[in-house]
Symmetry: C2
Subunit: 197 residues, 2 copies
């Protein structure tokens, strides 16, 4: 090798990758209670974006909790570290040019603000999936509310652990009685019209 | 929403994404001593792949050590955790359809085997950047060998911490006196000819 080696300078950068993919990288950060529909909406949104030839990736409990964050539990300290790692990974995906969708309860304002702080302006799109807790609890897809009410699960968001409502989310996805497909379509239109993707 | 919500089933999967990108996702895992040329070769390889319209991402100390692994030090335990997290992130990128290039010393066989174990057959491409330590130490781009020899740095791979030589790497990149560009080109040809990308 020559002596003119330039160390650790990335030859291909975010802009180059985003241009090649013909898209605007961003994190679409879905936050809301358990059962609010985050994962379902996230999946449908990814499907829609994929059909529009966007390069996307979905981060959720399924692909993060068993792998990268498999060493973490569910107390407040570990939940903060969980969201910190997810935020750092989301940043790497944005750097790679992708549109990242995340689906985590992410109850703490400070954690969501941390992810925002890692990204450039306009890259963090906070989506508040504002489904009333009564609706979430009635759905109770994993039976978690039942366990939380009976005390079998401690520190459950909305029951005995706080959910800090987003005060100025980029998108406030209010609850409407409609299909998940319709909700995802509504979200897609909102983020498109607002120019986030 | 309907009651027919299917929870946590990813609508868009690795195959769909890889097909859309018209490429074979993989981890090109560069391992070798400090100063062996991993980062330089990784960058040049990414540049080459990018020019071939591949969707790539490079993971190295620059974008991982300050973020995702910013809480980790350099003792053996933290180095293992560092490589574990990198492996999990590499897996996520492969799942997203990308070709990931990693540039870490990764001295322990077990850690490299861990990343391999996370992936499907053919997706993990171990590249042994086999530059003799005499050459690495002469280059000493960050002055680290000097500090290790004087005892200012402890647990330095190749000096007072072991480098476990890969026994059956997919690619054995032997040292030749040539430019970094030529080495990267040699690597590109090897991984192309062997059908890894």
């Amino acid at each position: 090798m020559t002596n003119n080696i330039v160390w650790h300078e990335h030859a291909v950068d975010k802009n180059a990758r985003a241009n090649a993919l013909n898209q605007k990288p961003a994190v679409i950060w879905l936050t809301g209670l358990s059962g609010s529909g985050k994962s379902t909406i996230a999946n449908l949104l990814e499907k829609k974006l994929f059909s529009e030839s966007k390069k996307t990736y979905l981060l959720d409990g399924d692909n993060v909790r068993h792998g990268l964050c498999g060493d973490l539990g569910f107390d407040d300290k570990d939940r903060v570290e969980n969201i910190r790692r997810i935020s750092e990974v989301a940043k790497l995906f944005v750097d790679s040019g992708s549109i990242v969708i995340t689906a985590f309860i992410s109850p703490f304002q400070a954690d969501r603000a941390y992810c925002r702080s890692l990204l450039d302006a306009g890259e963090f799109v906070e989506v508040f999936v504002d489904t009333p807790i009564e609706v979430c609890e009635k759905r109770d897809p994993k039976g978690l509310y039942k366990k939380a009410r009976s005390g079998d699960i401690k520190h459950f968001t909305g029951i005995d652990s706080v959910y800090e409502t987003p005060t100025t989310p980029e998108v406030h996805l209010t609850y409407i009685e409609e299909s998940a497909e319709q909700t995802a379509e509504r979200l897609f239109k909102l983020i498109s019209e607002k120019g986030f993707i």
